[in-house]
């Protein structure tokens, strides 16, 4: 047992990017707890200024390689909204389809490659490949399927090419769609096996009720489009995000911190699950139940389970979308709509795998960006991560330093903080004073 | 050569039966600019009225852009085996100049050493030719290539109400007998065919004065100013070669999988317009400038094979003109060499 503790983990690994956690405990009381993002700031908001309307989606895609599709779509939607461009139904269906697969890809990566080594007590997916080869096999197959889908529809797995303002530069072929459908159906065996494996892991028992924010719409488990909704009971049109969400620059971090109703909130798979549980497919609900995940859930560690449930949902819904697209027939003429660049402001809101993502652009008459504001999910979670940590550390203060360090790291990883994406990184520091 | 005629309705059924009985490759619209020769599963995909195709169909099938030649296993013992893959295919709707391009490749790949990878595919390729609309850059009549007298099994010419068919092989004759009903061509049919060809030849607008090129080229060869002007905008991108139905240069690479066991030799299209083409170990480059390379290309196309095979390595399809973003135009340049020498 330790009375005085100085934990510093730098950098916290297996998160995409870098971040530091510093905890000072004196007489079992937290003196200082900072989750620091020394990730190099990248100034995307500045880079966008002056760029032509067809460029921001390519530029902002580079904010984060892991959720490049999400950035691409938030960007495209903001531009389309600003200029009154209405993509065709075919485009929207294809966008939703590719979107599911980034979500699967990212969730699988997170659950299996980044979080699973904690649950199985191995240091990395490489050692996991030796101790639990079957787990890694499943992960690689599922991830490959999702990446292949993004490749087929988007042209490549990271930073898609074909999705642009107004639609798609090139459509997948009917043949490719049918192959995708086959791959999806084939993935159920792996999902079943995953379920059995996940049932065996021990998820830490830690609850802290907080505000959960995600997008939501009446028709589906919202990922691509919807209002901004909170478990605190409010719901606003996405264009009015500034009414509720504020950003603040904090001294110890290059990532801005966000607030809504309370002094922190959570976004991500668990927030989506809590807000939109009833829109999950029956199959996904069944998986959730078997894994003991019920809405509302206040255990941050269950975020990983929510991610897995979403994978199941995305597989189901992709099959539905493919059938719909094929039924309507792939039509070259509907691939793109005409674009007339004009002045205007538009807000594009989507659910990135890590949660709510907002792009807000103002264009001038020449169709060039005058002003841009980007709010990134990881930024939104920082304050909440600190608050969670402040609650968790006293609960486990009786444990050894190593155990405390591991628990903190696991908690951070449960958030799947994509740090590079904070346009604006992770390290846990624990040193005895 | 045997000559037959086929009715319009019979033709459609004939094509349908070919599609259902063979691996069938034919022209399909790719986008607003070009057609592409692809496997066809249904007659509705087939579009015979094509004008532009980026990659020559026969070259793509017989000499693919990258191809495994040898496979080996590197263990205690090394096992080496040739990879020669081929399957029977119907190539439908290929035009005369592209057939002539293929005839050139046929000759090339069996001369000196026989390239089995090419030859096996060629033997199994059933070629059914049809005329297509020439592009503005096409000068195949100047190169004697707008008409094919060899290299195909069947050549179908669309007359007003029927099809005139030239049968060049026993295989062609059997296919025709098996999948359709035809009649012997009579005087009237020949008359109509001749008429058709007269009109067809009129569609080619570009005329190239190739006759004196053989000697004139040598005179102009050392005129650096001329070649600098011609090659000024050249990107050294090789598009002209890669899109050419008669270009055959390739690189051979050895590779091994990450398991460090399975290896192979593959070949991949190369181009004499790329700077590395003449580069040898130690850093000497036998053709360091784009001017050298362009000269080499013209010599290869228009002289080398006249010496070797008595024919040009150019069928005048105009593809190299269309694909060249630097607007380097072989037809114009042949003519301007003549002009340069004549004034």
């Amino acid at each position: 047992m330790v009375n005085n503790l100085n934990i510093e983990v730098s950098p916290v690994t297996r998160v995409e990017g870098h971040g530091d956690l510093v905890i000072n405990v004196k007489d079992k009381k937290i003196e200082k707890l900072i989750f620091r993002i020394p990730e190099s700031p990248r100034f995307f908001e500045a880079m966008l200024v002056g760029r032509k309307y067809d460029e921001p989606s390519h530029i902002t895609s580079r904010i984060c390689g892991i959720c490049s599709v999400a950035h691409t779509f938030a960007s495209i939607k903001a531009t389309e909204r600003a200029m009154g461009i209405k993509p065709t139904e075919q485009t929207i269906n294809l966008r939703k389809l590719i979107y599911h697969h980034e979500n699967i890809q990212s969730n699988v990566l997170h659950v299996y490659f980044l979080a699973a080594p904690d649950f199985f007590g191995t240091g990395s997916v490489i050692s996991l490949a030796e101790t639990h080869p079957e787990v890694v096999d499943i992960a690689l197959r599922t991830k490959k399927m999702a990446n292949d889908m993004v490749r087929i529809i988007g042209g490549r797995a990271v930073h898609p090419i074909r999705t642009v303002v107004g639609g798609f530069t090139k459509l997948p072929s009917e043949q490719e769609m049918l192959e995708m459908r086959k791959m999806l159906e084939g993935s159920y065996t792996d999902l079943e096996k995953s379920l059995e494996i996940l049932k065996t892991i021990n998820i830490p028992d830690f609850e802290r009720e907080t505000e959960y924010i995600s997008i939501s719409n009446p028709y589906e488990y919202a990922l691509y489009d919807g209002n901004i909704k909170s478990t605190d009971g409010w719901e606003i049109d996405s264009q009015d995000y500034l009414d509720k969400i504020s950003e603040e620059v904090v001294r110890h971090s290059t990532a801005k911190h966000c607030r809504a109703n309370r002094d922190s909130y959570m976004v991500g798979a668990l927030a989506r699950f809590n807000n939109n549980y009833d829109k999950l497919t029956d199959n996904a609900k069944k998986y959730a139940e078997e894994l003991g995940l019920k809405a509302p859930c206040y255990n941050t560690f269950m975020n990983n389970i929510a991610q897995f449930v979403e994978v199941v949902h995305s597989v189901d819904d992709s099959i539905r979308l493919i059938d719909k697209i094929l039924e309507d027939g792939l039509n070259e003429e509907e691939a793109m709509v005409d674009i007339k660049p004009c002045a205007g402001r538009g807000v594009g809101v989507v659910e990135a795998p890590r949660g709510l993502l907002i792009h807000d652009y103002t264009y001038n008459e020449d169709g060039r960006v005058d002003k841009a504001n980007l709010i990134i999910p990881t930024n939104m979670n920082y304050a909440n991560i600190e608050n969670d940590m402040k609650a968790l550390v006293p609960e486990i203060i009786e444990k050894s330093e190593d155990e405390i360090r591991l628990a903190c790291e696991m908690l951070i990883r449960a958030y799947d903080p994509c740090i590079s994406c904070s346009t604006h990184m992770l390290n846990v520091k624990l040193v005895n004073k | 050569m045997l000559y037959k005629v086929m009715g319009r309705d019979v033709f459609k059924d004939f094509v349908k039966s070919l599609i259902s009985n063979y691996e069938f490759i034919g022209p399909k619209r790719k986008d607003k600019a070009v057609h592409d020769f692809v496997p066809i599963k249904d007659i509705s995909e087939l579009d015979i009225n094509y004008k532009r195709t980026t990659i020559p169909p026969a070259k793509k099938i017989l000499f693919p852009p990258d191809e495994k030649l040898v496979a080996y296993e590197v263990n205690e013992k090394i096992k080496v085996r040739p990879v020669v893959e081929s399957s029977e295919k119907v190539l439908f709707g290929i035009n005369a100049w592209d057939i002539n391009g293929m005839n050139f490749l046929d000759r090339f790949f069996v001369t000196d050493f026989v390239d089995e990878n090419y030859l096996e595919r060629r033997k199994k390729l059933i070629v059914i030719g049809m005329d297509s609309e020439p592009t503005e850059t096409n000068f195949s009549p100047s190169m004697d290539s707008e008409y094919a007298k060899d290299g195909f099994d069947l050549y179908i010419t669309e007359l007003k109400d029927r099809y005139f068919i030239r049968i060049n092989t026993a295989r062609g004759d059997e296919i025709l007998k098996k999948y359709s009903v035809t009649e012997n061509a009579l005087v009237k049919d020949f008359k109509d065919y001749n008429n058709y060809m007269d009109n067809y030849r009129k569609k080619f607008k570009l005329d190239v004065n190739i006759k004196d090129f053989y000697d004139n080229f040598e005179l102009i060869y050392d005129d650096d100013e001329f070649w600098e002007k011609v090659a000024k905008n050249c990107y050294s991108c090789g598009s002209c070669n890669l899109a050419c139905p008669t270009c055959f240069c390739f690189n051979v690479k050895d590779d091994i999988e990450l398991n460090l066991k399975d290896g192979n030799k593959t070949r991949e299209w190369d181009s004499c317009m790329l700077p590395e083409y003449g580069l040898v170990a130690g850093g000497h480059n036998f053709r360091p400038d784009k001017e050298n390379r362009l000269k080499q290309r013209y010599r290869c196309k228009l002289k080398t094979f006249l010496d070797k095979f008595g024919r040009y390595a150019c069928v005048g399809c105009g593809r190299c003109i269309e694909v060249c973003l630097a607007k380097i135009n072989i037809a114009d340049n042949i003519n301007s060499i003549k002009k340069e020498v004549s004034v």
Partner: protein
């Protein structure tokens, strides 16, 4: 216009690209950058059937890494093994230099219809002019000639190396010097303190040769820059362009006239060469 098409597919295998397995029997470091490799086919049948002419080359595969052409430098009448002299300069050559005796490689060939016409050269004086690694292909001819010494008149080797340590085949050169039926003159660009021989480029030595023009053949091989100057000197002497033979180097990817990289005019260095007469070369723009 004459048609000159040869259908002489020597290979009776299913593919001209498949190498036969061979073994490196012996490796000697003969200069700081060159090693001499003794090579034997794994299959005795292949070894017995391996007949080559002086000037021909083989395509050598280092499995998984690459293939490159190398001239055979041993006596064509030695049937037990053949030799390659290889400079460490790139991927394949570098890998060979790291290999140990007993390693397996792949061999295709011999290739090149244009070899040194040793029959035509009978009853002639022979001048062999080599620069640097250019000595390697000539060694095979020299060894043949020495084996049939009575068929030839005077034989002289002019060999230029960059510096004394880079002189190749030192043992052979020593042996040649000990014989009185062959003369050899070695020159270096950068002499060291011990060097007592000639200094400067090999072209310098050509004027000193005084063989009668009508029954003399010259043979040349060296780096690309050398040819032009050697030809000037030979032409000054009025040698018939049909009696001067040059071995050329070009990039080769296949060795069998398909990849076309070694094209010069209507000739392919791999099939029609690598040895050409000066007359052929004069008719090939850009050959030199």
């Amino acid at each position: 216009m004459t048609l000159n098409v040869k259908y002489n597919n020597k290979s009776n295998k299913s593919s001209i690209y498949v190498p036969e397995l061979a073994r490196i029997n012996k490796i000697q470091q003969i200069s700081p950058t060159e090693k001499l490799f003794d090579i034997v086919f794994e299959d005795d049948k292949n070894q017995n059937n391996f007949n080559f002419e002086p000037g021909q080359f083989v395509e050598l595969t280092v499995f998984g890494l690459g293939e490159a052409p190398f001239s055979i430098c041993s006596n064509p009448e030695n049937k037990d093994f053949f030799q390659l002299c290889i400079r460490d300069i790139g991927n394949v050559s570098g890998a060979l230099h790291r290999m140990k005796e007993g390693s397996k490689i792949g061999i295709r060939g011999p290739y090149g219809n244009g070899y040194f016409p040793y029959e035509k050269m009978r009853n002639h004086n022979i001048i062999l002019i080599a620069g640097g690694l250019g000595l390697a292909p000539l060694m095979s001819l020299v060894k043949y000639i020495l084996h049939h010494r009575e068929d030839y008149k005077e034989v002289m080797i002019i060999y230029g190396a960059v510096n004394p340590e880079n002189i190749l085949f030192k043992d052979d050169i020593q042996y040649f010097s000990s014989r009185n039926d062959i003369s050899i003159c070695v020159t270096v660009d950068n002499p060291d303190a011990e060097w007592t021989g000639e200094v400067g480029v090999c072209t310098k030595l050509i004027p000193r040769v005084d063989f009668p023009v009508e029954d003399t053949c010259a043979v040349v091989c060296g780096p690309p820059v050398m040819y032009k100057f050697v030809i000037i000197e030979l032409e000054k002497k009025n040698y018939s362009s049909e009696k001067v033979f040059l071995s050329l180097e070009r990039r080769m990817e296949c060795g069998v006239g398909k990849c076309n990289h070694c094209h010069i005019g209507d000739k392919l260095v791999c099939v029609d060469g690598p040895v050409f007469s000066l007359w052929q070369i004069k008719n090939l723009k850009e050959a030199i």
